[in-house]
Subunit: 415 residues, 2 copies
C-alpha cells in the first residue's frame, strides 16, 4: 500500500511524542543497531543501488554518479557515521534555564525536539541515513523525500532503519520515506502547515529558491554559496595564492568552495599573473572584468550574470576593486550570505570586513572550505544555513531543537 503524503504526515505527527520521550540511552542504542543492520544488509543494499545506477547512472555527471554509488566502502562510511552520531552529546539535555517570576511562578525553559522534520534532497542515498540519524538523535520524526535517481537505494535503506524501530517495539513511522518522486509530493510537503515543523531543502540554488517562494511550512535555507575572496594590498601573496587555489579547486562542486576573486587594484599587476597561472594550471577557467583582462588577455569576459552565479565547477570570476570598502560593498551586493574571505595583514581592514560583510561565516587568511559542521567541531552537520533566523552557518544537532516554557503555579492569576 502506497500512502499519500498527507497520510505519511499524519503518521509522522502521531509518532512525535514517542520519539521525543525516548531516553538518550535508547536513542543511542537504536543508532548503533542501525549501524549494525546496515552492515548486515550490505549485499542487499549494493544490489538495490545497482538498480538505481542501471536506471539513472548514465543520466548523471561524474561527481553525481559517484555520490549515488554505494559500494562496500561507502556502506562502511554510512555505518561509521551512525556510530559517530551515537557518541555525540544529547542535544535535548540541559542545563535548562529556570527561574521564579515576581509572582512566584516557576518557569523552566526546556530544550525540546522540533517535532516533524522534512528533508528534501537529491541523488545521495547517504543523506537518507544521515538525516534519519540526526533527527532520531534529536528526538524528532523525519519525513524523507530523496531524488528519483536513488529511489531503490533509499527505499531499501529506509526499510532497514524502520525494521530496527519495529524490532524495538517502536513506531516505525518515526522514519518515513516518500516514494512518490514526482514534483507533486514535494509540493504537498511544502504546504502541510499542521504537520511539518521545519523543511530543510538540499539541492541547487534554483530548487531552494523554489522552495522558499512556495512553501508555507517553515523552511531553513541551506547551501547556496556564491563565495568571494578579497585580496587586500597588504596580503601575503604566496599565502593568498595557496588559499585561493585550495578554496577553488579542492572540491569545486560544493557550496563552500570559492567562486569569485576580488583583487586590490594596487597589487593587481603583480598578483594577478601569478594567481592566474596557478589556477589555470589546475584547469580553472577565468572570467574577469575589463580591468583584469587588460592585464591578462587569456581571461574570458565576465557577463553581469557571472557575478551572481554559483558555478560549482572549475570556473572563477575575477574583479579588480579600488580598496577594502569597495570589496565590502561589492560582496554585500552579490553574497549568498554563506562564507566570505579577506586575505589581509591590515587589522583595520580585517575588522571592518568582518563587521560589515553580511555572511554566516567571515574568514581572515584561511580557505572557506572549512565552513562545515565537522571542521567547526560540531561532530555532525544537517546542512549549512544561509539564513539568519534560528540557525546560521554549519548546523549541528541543536538546530533540530526548539524551546518550550513549562510554568508551574499554585493558583496565580494576573491582576
Amino acid at each position: 500500500m502506497v500512502l499519500t503524503v498527507e497520510e505519511i504526515g499524519q503518521r509522522a505527527k502521531k509518532a512525535t511524542n514517542q520519539v521525543a520521550a525516548l531516553t538518550i540511552e535508547k536513542r543511542n542504542a537504536l543508532l548503533l543497531q542501525m549501524a549494525q543492520a546496515i552492515i548486515d544488509q550490505q549485499d542487499a543494499i549494493i544490489a538495490a543501488n545497482k538498480e538505481d545506477l542501471a536506471e539513472y547512472g548514465h543520466t548523471l555527471s561524474g561527481p553525481m554518479q559517484k555520490r549515488l554509488t554505494l559500494d562496500a566502502v561507502a556502506i562502511q562510511d554510512i555505518a561509521q557515521s551512525l556510530k559517530a552520531v551515537a557518541t555525540l552529546p544529547d542535544p535535548l539535555a540541559g542545563p535548562y534555564d529556570q527561574w521564579q517570576t515576581h509572582v512566584e511562578l516557576k518557569i523552566i525553559k526546556k530544550i525540546v525536539p522540533l517535532g516533524v522534520v522534512a528533508m528534501v534532497y537529491e541523488a545521495r542515498p547517504n543523506v537518507t541515513v544521515d538525516a534519519a540519524a540526526l533527527t532520531l538523535k534529536s528526538g524528532n520524526v523525519v519525513i524523507l523525500r530523496g531524488g528519483k535517481e536513488a529511489i531503490h537505494s533509499n527505499t531499501f535503506l529506509a526499510g532497514v532503519l524502520r525494521q530496527v524501530l519495529t524490532d524495538s517495539q517502536l513506531n516505525p513511522d518515526i522514519i518515513q520515506l516518500i516514494t512518490d518522486t514526482s514534483h507533486d509530493s514535494v509540493n504537498d510537503l511544502l504546504h502541510m502547515r499542521k504537520i511539518v515543523d521545519v523543511l530543510i531543502p538540499r539541492g541547487s540554488a534554483k530548487f531552494i529558491d523554489f522552495v522558499v517562494a512556495n512553501a508555507t511550512v517553515p523552511v531553513i535555507e541551506t547551501g547556496a554559496g556564491n563565495t568571494h575572496i578579497f585580496v587586500d594590498d597588504s596580503a601575503d601573496q604566496d599565502e593568498a595564492i595557496r588559499i585561493i587555489h585550495n578554496a577553488k579547486t579542492q572540491k569545486p562542486s560544493v557550496c563552500n568552495s570559492a567562486e569569485k576573486l576580488l583583487i586590490h587594484e594596487s597589487i593587481v599587476a603583480k598578483f594577478l599573473p601569478k594567481v592566474a597561472t596557478k589556477l589555470v594550471s589546475s584547469h580553472v577557467e577565468l572570467r574577469g572584468d575589463d580591468a583584469s583582462r587588460q592585464i591578462d588577455q587569456n581571461i574570458l569576459p565576465a557577463t553581469a550574470l557571472d557575478w551572481d552565479t554559483e558555478y560549482n565547477d572549475l570556473i572563477m570570476g575575477i574583479k579588480i576593486v579600488a580598496d577594502a570598502d569597495a570589496a565590502i560593498d561589492w560582496i554585500n551586493q552579490h553574497t549568498t550570505h554563506h562564507s566570505e574571505t579577506i586575505i589581509s595583514e591590515t587589522p583595520e581592514h580585517v575588522v571592518k570586513f568582518m563587521n560589515a560583510v553580511d555572511a554566516a561565516v567571515v574568514y581572515q587568511n584561511a580557505s572557506s572550505r572549512f565552513t562545515d559542521g565537522f571542521e567547526f567541531g560540531f561532530g555532525a552537520e544537517i546542512g549549512i544555513s544561509t539564513q539568519k533566523l534560528h540557525a546560521r552557518g554549519p548546523m549541528g544537532l541543536p538546530a533540530l531543537t526548539t524551546i518550550k516554557y513549562e510554568v508551574f503555579g499554585d493558583g496565580q492569576i494576573r491582576v
Copy 2:
C-alpha cells in the same frame, strides 16, 4: 517626496552598518533622548492623534479606539517605556563562544543584529515607538508599517524619533515609516528578499495567515492564541474557577486570554454549574458541546468552527473530555501553539500534559495571562512567537539578533 517601499528598503539596508556599529552607551543615550523628545512634543503628538481619531475613531470598536488614543498619560507611558529599554542589558554583548579547531583556526561566534526588521501592525501608535526602541537597542534598522487609522500619529512620532538621529549626526533611515497604508505596501514588503531580514506581523489571525502564505521574506509568526484550560478530576475546583475567570475575563481582547475550557467528565456535574455561574456573572457567553448542554441548558451550542476560533471577546467554548489523554489529543488538534493550561493535582497527568502538548508555554495551575515578556522577566517584548524556529513564546531583545562566525587563520587550507 514620498519614497517607494523599494526605496525605503534600499535606504534601510544602507543604514544597517551604521546602527550595528553604535556602542551600547550611544544606543542607550539615543533612547533617552527619544524619551525626552516625545515628552517635549506632547502637545503636537496629541494634535496629530486627534486628526486620526477624527477620521477613523468612529469606525473602531471601543478597545481599538482606546488603543489608538494618545493622551498625556499614554505619552508618558511611551516615554517611560523608552527609558526602560535603555536600562536593559545589551543583547549584542557577549560572552561570545570562541574556540580553536583541529587545524588551529580561531572561531568567534558573535552575536549580531539581524539587519533590517520590518514590523506590520494595526492602529496602535505606541507600537511605532516600542518597535523602534527595541530594534535600535538591538542594533537593527526598522521599517514600520502601521495601520491607516494611526497614520497621522505614526508619521509625527516617527518624525520625532528620526530627528533625534539626525541631531546626533546619524542616518535617520535607521528608523523609517511607510506612509503608504494601502495593501500594496504590505505586499511589497513581503517580497523584498534582498532587503528584509525578518518581518514581524502583528494583527488578526487572518492577517498573519495571509502574511505566512504570501511572504517570501523570513517571518516570525506572532500572537494567534486559541488557548485551552483543562480541568482534571483532581483539580482544586475553587482555584480552577479563579484561574479560568481570570484567564477569560481580565483582558479578553488579547492573545494570552483563555478561549476554551475542557472539563474531565468525572467532575463535570459538580464543577460546570459553579464555573458557568461565575463566568456568566462576568457576562461571558458560553458555547458548549452536547454533554455540557445536558448539564446546563443555558449554554449555547458550539459549532465545529468554534473549536478553532480565537474569540478575543467574552465568549468561551466548553467541552467535556474523558480524561487527560483525551484533553491532550483535543488540544493538539486545535492549538495555535501559544499557551495551554492544565489544572490538576496529579503529577503524572501534569508531566504528560507538559511533555505532550505542542505549545510555546504550558501551565500548571496558573492563568495563561502570564505569557508576556514583562511577566516572564525579559524586560521587553517584541511579540509572542507561536512558531518553533528562531524564537518561541514571549520574545525579548535576543529574538532580534542572530549569530556570525568570525574565523581567523594564518594560511590554513583544507586537505
